[in-house]
């Protein structure tokens, strides 16, 4: 053990400290991300936006079947999905702006949008 400690150089310590600080910073940044106000649900060519203030439980159809999405306590998640791997369900709750869950097999995408979604439409 002492041999190991003796072999550690200043550069190694600095490198470890640098990465620890980086991870801590990223973690702080992640948990401090602003929370969103709306949930955008995109299914085949359609997009629907729900206010996170109001709880909902709805099913949306995709090519494989019905995906159930819930909004509760200003957070959203996919509760049920007909896809095989269920990654979308394991993703859990999202509530920070730009957090997104995509279920590729059932072609459903849900994302959190802030009050400051830049705009609703474009004038050109």
């Amino acid at each position: 053990m002492s041999k190991f400690i003796n072999s550690v150089k200043l550069g190694d310590v600095l490198t470890i400290l640098f990465f620890m600080a980086l991870v801590t910073l990223l973690f702080i940044k992640l948990i401090n991300l602003p929370t969103g106000e709306f949930l955008e649900i995109e299914t085949n060519n359609e997009s629907t936006i729900f206010n996170l203030e109001h709880d909902i439980q709805k099913k949306f159809s995709g090519p494989l079947g019905l995906t159930e999405i819930i909004i509760h306590n200003k957070k959203a998640r996919i509760k049920e999905s007909p896809c095989n791997k269920k990654y979308c369900i394991h993703h859990g709750w999202i509530n920070k702006i730009n957090e997104t869950i995509v279920c590729i097999p059932n072609e459903i995408r849900i994302s959190i949008i802030g009050k400051n979604k830049p705009y609703d439409s474009t004038n050109y």
Partner: protein
């Protein structure tokens, strides 16, 4: 008991899911562009139903007013070409033509829907614009006896013009008129919160919950919005620009917006955006009145805007300079980090 509570909770959640906090979006391709309807505060079923009513109305209007395919307008143009009276059996169409004559007069000819032949000559009477600069002599022929919308005469239901150079093209009017009709359809169906976008011409009805509808204004030379603005209930916004329908020949850009006095597309302005607050015909005006502001020379733009009572304008000149009215400047939110050369008028 817990189980019962959960069942009641889920039932309540389900009911709340049917509540009116959602925005439903529907899109269709009409008038050669994307039509995007967002409705707030309605069930998806109702929003879809009313959106489809509007889309169907727009499809009808597009066919009815089409500038170069067989339509009520092309039939009128054929009669003008043959110098004969044309019986218009539709009071709405008579009203539309009269409205266009009036707008021609109030804009001192800068909005001139009688220049269809010029638009055609420049190759823009086609889904894919032509790429050729027309022969100067052909343009001169048309400009020597310039087509003027006030040369279209309507007596009772009969229309005539003695200027064979007139060819009516309502391309600068139809989208605004469609917005006006969409508003009526929404009102008739008790929908008061919606955002309708016809290829960039936008009408905001009501709000989305407590917030105003917000639109981005696209930069004419970049694929992003350079500013955004909240639209108060009833506001309409329209832009005329040289970046949607144009062609480039010998490194010079030629857009579909043609100066009715010279017969050539203008090269001094990239875009002109205006907002018209709610008033009689405001949806139409937001489409129509951006043309005079776009086409007129820089030194005349502000004066013309004042004469036309346009309090909200934002113009990007060819050199990138931005001319903005005081009222517009109070509401605009600039986006992006790029430095902007803005002058307030």
């Amino acid at each position: 008991m817990n189980y019962l509570n959960n069942v009641v909770l889920i039932f309540l959640l389900f009911l709340m899911g049917c509540s009116d906090n959602q925005i439903t979006q529907n899109k269709d391709y009409i008038f050669g562009t994307i039509v995007d309807i967002k409705i707030y505060g309605e069930t998806k079923q109702n929003a879809d139903h009313v959106s489809n009513l509007i889309f169907n109305d727009f499809h009808h209007l597009h066919t009815y007013l089409h500038p170069w395919k067989t339509s009520a307008i092309s039939n009128i143009n054929e009669s003008i070409k043959q110098n004969r009276w044309h019986d218009i059996d539709d009071p709405e169409l008579i009203q539309i033509i009269q409205d266009n004559v009036q707008l021609y007069k109030s804009t001192k000819g800068w909005f001139n829907p009688a220049i269809g032949k010029l638009v055609q000559l420049w190759g823009f009477h086609s889904d894919v614009p032509g790429q050729k600069i027309p022969n100067g002599a052909d343009i001169l022929d048309l400009i020597k006896n310039p087509p003027k919308m006030n040369q279209v005469i309507i007596e009772n239901s009969m229309l005539r013009s003695e200027n064979p150079n007139i060819q009516i093209d309502l391309g600068g009017y139809a989208k605004g008129y469609a917005l006006k009709r969409a508003k009526k359809i929404l009102e008739a169906n008790q929908i008061s919160n919606a955002l309708i976008n016809i290829g960039g011409n936008i009408l905001a009805m009501g709000k989305k919950g407590k917030q105003f509808w917000k639109v981005g204004i696209q930069h004419p030379r970049e694929n992003i919005a350079f500013a955004s603005i909240e639209l108060k209930p009833g506001w309409s916004i329209g832009t005329s620009g040289d970046y949607q329908r144009y062609f480039i020949s010998n490194n010079k850009r030629y857009s579909h917006l043609i100066n009715p006095f010279t017969g050539y597309p203008v090269d001094h302005t990239q875009s002109a955006t205006i907002i018209i607050p709610p008033k009689e015909n405001s949806e139409v005006l937001s489409d129509v009145l951006s043309k005079p502001i776009y086409l007129s020379p820089k030194e005349d733009k502000v004066k013309l805007a004042n004469q036309l009572q346009i309090n909200y304008f934002l113009i990007i000149l060819e050199n990138g300079e931005i001319m903005i009215s005081q009222e517009m400047n109070k509401h605009i939110e600039w986006l992006g980090d790029k430095e902007k050369n803005v002058k307030i008028y």
